[in-house]
Amino acid sequence: MTELIKTPRTGETLPVKAGKRTNPLANVFDELVRFAQSRSLFMLHYCTGCGAIELPPSMTSRFDMERLGIQPMVSPRQADILLVTGYVSVKTLKRIILTYEQMGSPKYVIGICSCTVNGGMYWQSYATAKKLNDYMPVDIYIAGCMPRPEAVIAGLRELMENIRQGKADSWKDYYRHYDHYLGHQQRLFGETWQTPTDVIAEARHYGLFGPDTLGTHTALLEQHQRPLEALEMKVDIPELMARR
C-alpha cells in the first residue's frame, strides 16, 4: 500500500483555452459552443446505487429531462454526463473509473445522494467508497437520500448553467492532478491498479499536462504497468479459414 501524498487541488487556471480570447468574435464563438454543449447532453445510463431508482421518473414523461435536452445514453464513449447515483461499492468504483476515463471530453460528473459526499449511511461499510471526489473530479452534487426527480432536474439545470458559463470544467482537473486521483485509487485497489486508458498521454494531447499530472503514484503505475494485449482471436471456422 502506498503512502498517500495529499496533493492540494487548487483551482488555479492554466493558460489554456478557457480564458477570454482577444478576438471578440472568438469569444462569441466560445459562448455559442458552450451554449450548444449545455443544451445537448447525453447522460450515461449507469445505475451505480440506489439513487438510480429516481432516474427513470426523471427521464420519463412526468419529469422529463428531455425538455432540457438530456437523454440517457448506453455507451460511455458517446456520453457527456456520468451520474453517480449514490454509494459506489469498491467493485463498482473500478468500473466507474474505467467508464469515466473512456468518456470523451468534455465530460461531467454528478454526485447524487449523501453517499457520494461522505459515505452516507454506509460510512461504516468495508465495501463502499466514501468520497467520490477522491477518485474523480465532480462537477456538481445533488443532496438527498435519494434526491427527488425535481432535485435531480434542478441539479442538471445547474450543471447546464455552469457549462454555459464555462464553470464546469472539472474534467481538466483529472488530467492536471492525475497523480492525486491515481493515488487514492491505488490506496484502495492496490498499487498494481491500472486502467486501459493512458491518461497521461491524453493530458498531453489536450494540453492539460501540468506539474501535478505526474508524481509518485504515476511512477508506481509505470512500474507495474503491463502493456495491454489484444485478445487473441482463434478463427477456426473452416469456411473462413479456407477463404483466407
Partner: protein, 380 residues
Amino acid sequence: MRPENYEAQRQPPSHEYELNIGPNHPGIEGNYAFKLRLHGDRVLEGKADAGYLHRGFEKLMEGRLWIQNLAITPRICVPDPVPMEVSYCLAVEELCGLEIPERAQWLRVLQLELSRIAAHLFTFGGHAATTGMYSPMFWGIADRDLVLDLFEELTGGRVYHIYNIPGGVRRDAPDGFLDRVRSTLDYLDSRLPDYDNLLFTNQVFVHRAKGVGTMSREQALEWGVTGPNLRATGLEFDVRRDDPYLVYDDLDFDIPTEEAGDAWARTLVRRKELVQSIRIARQVIAALPSIAGPIRCPIPNPLAWNVPAGSVYTRVESSKGELAWYVVSNGGERPYRTHVRGPSQMHAVQVLEKLSVGCRLEDVAQTMFSLDACPPEVDR
C-alpha cells in the same frame, strides 16, 4: 491489478465467444453483470456476477441499534422497499412479543399493496422496454409516480419510507389521505385496459414473450423459485395466504396463476396481481376509518432497547417473491445477526443462469426482467 472480469477469462473458439452484459445494461433494475458464452446468438452458458451493490448490510446492522436499522432495511430492495421494512419490524416484534395495534396492521397492509402496485408497474415497463416497447415503460413509470405521491403524503418520503417501526407505524394517515388513495386506485384501475391494449393483448409483445425462459413447475420448485415466478408455473401459493401475517387472513383476494411458466406467464401473473392488490387496497380503505386506536404500541426507549434473546424467521410476500429475515438476538441492544433472504437471490443467480441457456441473446434481457430480479437483494 485490473478488475478481474475486465478480460475474458477463457479463450473461446471463434464461433463461441464471451459477452459481458453489464454491470451497465438495461436488463435489470440495478447494477449487475451477467457473463454469457454464446454460440452465434444462442446462449451456451450464463454466469451471474454480483457484488456491484454490495454494502455489507448484514454487517452494518450488527453494529447499529435495533431502531437505527430501520433506515437500512428499505435499501435492500429499492423498487419495493416496504416489505423489507415490514418484515424486519415483524421479526423484532416477534422477538419482543409486541402486539401491533390493529390500525397499524391495516396501514401496513395498505403500504405493502401500494408498494406492490408500484413495483409491478415498474416491472411491466421494464419488461416491455427490453422488447423494444418504450411506451409501456413511460406509462408504467408515470403511473407508478402517482403511487409514490401517495407514499410521500403518508410517510414523508417518496422511495425510502422508513415509516414502519417495531410496534406499529410512525405517523397516522393524514386527513383525506384515504380519499386520495381511492381516487388513485380508481385511476389505475381505469388505466388497465390501456395497458392491455398496449401490452398484454399486443400480439407483438405476446409473441416476443411467449416461450422465453420457460420453466416447469418441478423445475421451479427444485430451483427455489417463489412469488409470481412460481405462480406462473401453476402453483397456487402465496405467503400472504398460506403463511399469513398482519391482517391478510381477514382480507379477500385471489391468487392468480398461469401454467406456462415462461416470461409471458410471469408478466401476466403480475398483471393479474395488480388487480388483486387494488382489490386489497380498496378493502383497507373501506376498513380503516372504522378501526380506531393507536398506531403504535408502547416500545422501549430506542436508546435502551434490549431485544430478548432468540431467533426468528419472518417471511412476507414481496412483489418479487418470498422475502424473509432471519434475525438473531443475544439479548443485546443490537441484532446479533440478521440475514435477509431475498427472492432475487434465487431468481437472479441460479434461475437466471439456468433459464438463459439456450436463449437467444436478444431474449436474455427479457428473461432477466421477466424474473423481476433485483440485484441489491442479491448483493445486500
